[in-house]
Each structure stands twice: as structure tokens, then as C-alpha cells.
């Protein structure tokens, strides 16, 4: 899937502003971004629901509006898409009949833990069950490329893992997956390629490891308001220390036994007991917040 200089406007608001990105075949691509960053607009243009105001989009080499694309794509909308009164199993069986070589609806229901709800009307399913049914409908036609718009929003941990298993299974079978998410751990775990978008543009992309970098950090929790500048004096120059958020301390620099000793000695001198002291890489969430800022939108 290839997007070049994509532009989408709603009235005077520009939702997608010259976005360029490539999703490689057989990979899981995660699109991250704050609410209103242009994720859903971008995905819905690729799915053929909306027409772009500028730029070019090719999906599996075709224009997104090309009807020949429909059987090759699997689509999970952010919400809805199913008549409230229809029974879960019935809906899936109808969708299966639109495809030449569908998966077995009952096996798919079992895989997603919905087999006991096959006769339950859609509106009586829990939010997580509704999401799983939408996921099932997205993959039942054995597509080459699957779009999942926030597939795990509102799922409990069990259901989230079931969804992750499906995504991993798709990738192992050679299906390309493009998903949007707010869950950084999900993007880190599942995806080969992460694209961070903000204000309708790509602000960073790469493998999760590339984005988070190899650099390690020392992190600990303690009472809020420690004097980090004083701690910094005890560390070699080139180190950095910050409290973010309150009560959470992050120290960067030459992370090693020497830094660990210095920090714990300083804490002992200050009479501070640390909790959760650990050395780790930056998380995708750190990178995301650095790129897109902390303010609420």
C-alpha cells in the first residue's frame, strides 16, 4: 500500500496534510497518533470510503475505489456496521456468503470466544464481543490486506490477547495488516512497522526498535519533588535527569553499574526509598509523547 502526499479536507479543516507512507506486503503496520491526527481519515481513504482531495493512493497496486479490490480487503470499522437485531452467527454467515473461499464461520466464532453467543443479537453483546465479531467479519473472506481501526479499543485483557493472536496468525499466514491504535504496547508487540502521525502528517516511522532507540534509561519511583539538579551534580556530565510524571524519575546517560551505584547512594543519603528501580529502553509511549506533546486535545 502506497500513499503519496495525501490531502483530505473537511470544510476548512485539513485532516490529512500531505501524508506519505508505504506499508509493505506481509507486514503489520501500526498507525499511531493522538485523536484527530488523521488516522481514521487516512484508513478510510485506503478502504475506498472517502475520496482524497489531493495526492495518490494505491492499495495492492489499485485505486481504492476499484471494485476489484473489495474481495481482497478485510475491513473492521472503528464502531458499528452491524444491524442491532441480527444474531452474531447469522451476520457472520451472511458476510461469508459474499466470498468465494470464506473461513468457516463457526470455527472463527470459536476462535474468538463467541461460539456461545452465536444466537445473541448484536445489540445484546458486550462492547468487547461486538468488536470481536467485527474482527471476525474482517478476516472471514481470506483477504490479502486487512484494515483494523482501533481493534482493541474497549476490550478486556483476554479479548485483547485473542485479537493479538488473530493479528499474529494473519501475519504468519502472509496477510498484510494495517491497524490504528492508542495502545503503545500493542503497537510495540504486534507491528513490524510503526508510523506516528500528527496534524495529518507522518512525524516518525520505523520498526519499533528503531523508534525507541537502543539507548537505555534508569527509572525509579519515589516521593515527588526530589531535587533532580542536585542528583545530576553527582552524575558524570552528559547525564540527564527528569521527574515525569510526578514521582517518576528518569535518568539518561552512561547507564551502567556506576550510575546505579551513584543514584542509590544519593537516594540513601537523602533518606529516599526507591520503588520499581529498573534499567530499560525508552518505550514507544515515551517516543510518542515526545513527538506529539503532552497537552490534551
Amino acid at each position: 500500500m502506497e500513499i503519496r502526499g495525501l490531502i483530505k479536507r473537511y470544510g476548512r479543516k485539513t485532516a490529512v496534510d500531505g501524508l506519505t507512507l508505504t506499508c509493505r506486503a506481509g507486514e503489520v503496520t501500526a498507525i499511531l497518533g493522538p485523536n484527530g491526527a488523521g488516522k481514521t481519515s487516512t484508513i478510510e481513504i485506503c478502504e475506498g470510503f472517502r475520496r482524497p482531495d489531493g495526492g495518490t493512493v494505491r492499495v495492492l497496486g489499485l485505486d481504492p475505489a476499484d471494485p476489484a479490490l473489495k474481495p481482497r480487503l478485510g475491513v473492521m470499522l472503528q464502531a458499528g456496521g452491524v444491524p442491532p437485531a441480527v444474531r452474531a452467527g447469522e451476520w457472520l454467515r451472511v458476510v461469508a456468503r459474499f466470498y468465494a473461499h470464506p473461513l468457516d464461520p463457526d470455527a472463527l466464532l470459536t476462535l474468538l470466544g463467541l461460539n456461545e453467543h452465536a444466537r445473541t443479537p448484536y445489540r445484546r453483546l458486550s462492547g468487547g464481543q461486538q468488536q470481536r465479531l467485527s474482527l471476525a467479519a474482517a478476516v472471514i473472506g481470506r483477504p490479502e490486506l486487512v484494515f483494523l481501526d482501533e481493534p482493541t479499543a474497549g476490550l478486556d485483557p483476554q479479548a485483547r490477547h485473542a485479537c493479538w493472536d488473530v493479528v499474529t496468525g494473519l501475519r504468519d499466514a502472509g496477510v498484510s495488516v494495517v491497524l490504528t491504535t492508542h495502545q503503545m504496547d500493542e503497537a510495540e508487540k504486534l507491528s513490524d512497522h510503526v508510523v506516528v502521525i500528527d496534524h495529518g502528517r507522518v512525524v516518525a516511522e520505523g520498526a519499533p526498535r528503531e523508534l525507541t532507540g537502543a539507548e537505555r534509561q534508569l527509572r525509579f519511583r519515589a516521593r515527588p519533588g526530589l531535587d533532580v539538579d542536585q542528583l545530576l551534580c553527582a552524575l558524570p556530565s552528559g547525564s540527564a535527569a527528569k521527574e515525569s510524571p510526578s514521582g517518576h524519575y528518569i535518568i539518561e546517560g552512561q547507564v551502567g553499574p556506576q550510575m546505579l551505584a551513584t543514584v542509590t547512594a544519593w537516594c540513601a543519603a537523602e533518606g529516599v526509598t526507591t520503588e520499581d528501580l529498573r534499567i530499560e529502553r525508552r518505550t514507544l509511549e515515551d517516543v510518542f509523547l515526545e513527538l506529539t506533546g503532552r497537552e490534551l486535545r
Binding site: 471494485p67 481482497r72 444491524p83 459474499f98 468465494a100 476462535l111 473472506g141 499466514a173
Partner: protein, 259 residues
């Protein structure tokens, strides 16, 4: 009580089913949805049957002599067609648009043409059921229909096209709640004005000319002309219905918003 979790072969094997299979699957889903919807059954079967029985047995209206059931049954058939093709279809489609069902179906191999074919097939199937039920009740009330069955079928098909056009025009442009209210209102108004059970001859002459141009009047008059009077091809009424069908379907095709 965990069953063995199946492993599924997700490897890509895309392909659309043949169009007839897709249309049949969707039509089946639409028929089940219609028959399961209690409110819709009230409109499509219960109200027509109540009107048929009530107005055939009790001298509620002056039809100017002749068999009461022979006057009422064709009007009730017209009402049944309107309730399914227009009211039911408008409300169902309006809510499908609201719930993103039309959008989701747009991402499947089922084309818009296929979806319209399925909806039409489902409407016609429910109409067949209505005609059978209403026909049986009417015959039990002493009705003996006359006329050419082919003209009856033509009238019902043209009426279905006209009312579907009107319903889809409404469903594709108004909010779902507005469609619900408007579709029920139009149903009531046309029930009262369109010669379904009240003869339009009771209205002033100037008004009658306008009323004969309504699709419901064309359908009920046309059916009455064939089934009660044994008349020939109802050209005028078919023409009125064809105009409504062409106008509303063209307008709906231009204005329909899928989301």
C-alpha cells in the same frame, strides 16, 4: 468447558462469490430482519388485516352500493405494498445508514447494485406473503376477485418501484429519526387520502384531480379497476406509478448518502 480452539488457515485466498449467491444471502438477511421486526409487522400485516376485516364487516363508510369487501380488499392490497416498499424500507434503510451497516456492506464484494437487488427481492418476497394472507382473509370474507392477474402483478411491481424510490429518497437524505417520523406520517396521510378505504369521490372535485396523481391512489384505483370491475390494462394508473418511480429513483440515486 473450553472446547478445543481450532486453528484456522488465514492464508490469503480472496475472491468474490457469484452475484446471485451474494444477492440471495443479503435478501435472506433482509427478509429475516423484516419478519422479526415487530413494529414492522404491525404496519405490513396487522393494520391491513384489521382495516380489511373492520371495513368489510361494519358499515363504516358509504361506498355507494356493491360488495364492501370488493371495494376494501384492493385498497388494502395497495396499502400493504406501500407499507413494505415505502414505510418499512425507508425506516430500515435509514437506520442501516445510521448504524454504519451500509458503509460496512460497501467494504464487501456486494456491490450497490447487488444490495439494491437484494432489497427489492426481499420487499417482493414479503409482498407475496402479504398478498397471500390478505387474499385468503378477503376470500373468507366473501371476496371473489376478477380481472387479469397479469395486470395485478404489473400494478404491484410498478407500485413497488414508485414506493421504493420514495422510501430510499427519504432514507438516503434524512436523519434516521426524521425518516422514522416522516415515513409513518406519510403512511397515515396516504392511507387517509389515497382511496384505500375511503372513496376519493367523497372529496371535492378539484381535490380529487390532485389525489389521483398520488401513487397510492393510482395503485388502489388501478387494483380496484382490475380486481373488482374486471377492467383492462390500467394505462393511466401505470403511467402515474411509472412517473413516480422514475422521478424518485433518479433523485434518490443522485442524493443518497451512504453514511
Amino acid at each position: 468447558m473450553t472446547a478445543a480452539i481450532p486453528t484456522l488457515d488465514f492464508s490469503p485466498r480472496p475472491g468474490a462469490a457469484p452475484l446471485p449467491r451474494m444477492v440471495l444471502a443479503q435478501a435472506g438477511a433482509e427478509i429475516r430482519a423484516m419478519l422479526r421486526n415487530g413494529e414492522q409487522l404491525v404496519l405490513t400485516l396487522i393494520i391491513p388485516i384489521l382495516l380489511l376485516v373492520g371495513f368489510s364487516l361494519a358499515p363504516l363508510i358509504d361506498i355507494g352500493g356493491g360488495s364492501r369487501v370488493a371495494f376494501v380488499a384492493p385498497g388494502v392490497l395497495a396499502l400493504a405494498v406501500m407499507s413494505t416498499a415505502f414505510t418499512g424500507q425507508a425506516i430500515a434503510t435509514g437506520f442501516e445508514r445510521r448504524y454504519g451497516v451500509l458503509k460496512r456492506l460497501g467494504a464487501t464484494p456486494l456491490s450497490r447494485t447487488g444490495l439494491l437487488l437484494a432489497k427489492t427481492a426481499a420487499v417482493v418476497a414479503v409482498e407475496v406473503l402479504q398478498v397471500i394472507v390478505i387474499g385468503v382473509v378477503a376470500v373468507a370474507l366473501g371476496w371473489s376477485p376478477r380481472g387479469n392477474p397479469l395486470w395485478t402483478v404489473l400494478l404491484i411491481l410498478f407500485g413497488t418501484a414508485a414506493f421504493s424510490g420514495l422510501g430510499l429518497l427519504m432514507a438516503g437524505t434524512l436523519r434516521a429519526e426524521a425518516t422514522l417520523a416522516a415515513a409513518n406520517l406519510v403512511y397515515l396521510v396516504l392511507l387517509g387520502l389515497g382511496g384505500v378505504v375511503f372513496p376519493i369521490e367523497k372529496f371535492p372535485e378539484g381535490v380529487q384531480h390532485v389525489l389521483t396523481l398520488l401513487p397510492i391512489t393510482a395503485l388502489s384505483d388501478g387494483l380496484r379497476g382490475v380486481l373488482t370491475s374486471g377492467g383492462g390494462l390500467p394505462v393511466t394508473q401505470l403511467l402515474v406509478l411509472a412517473c413516480w418511480a422514475a422521478g424518485t429513483l433518479a433523485l434518490a440515486a443522485r442524493t443518497f448518502r451512504w453514511e
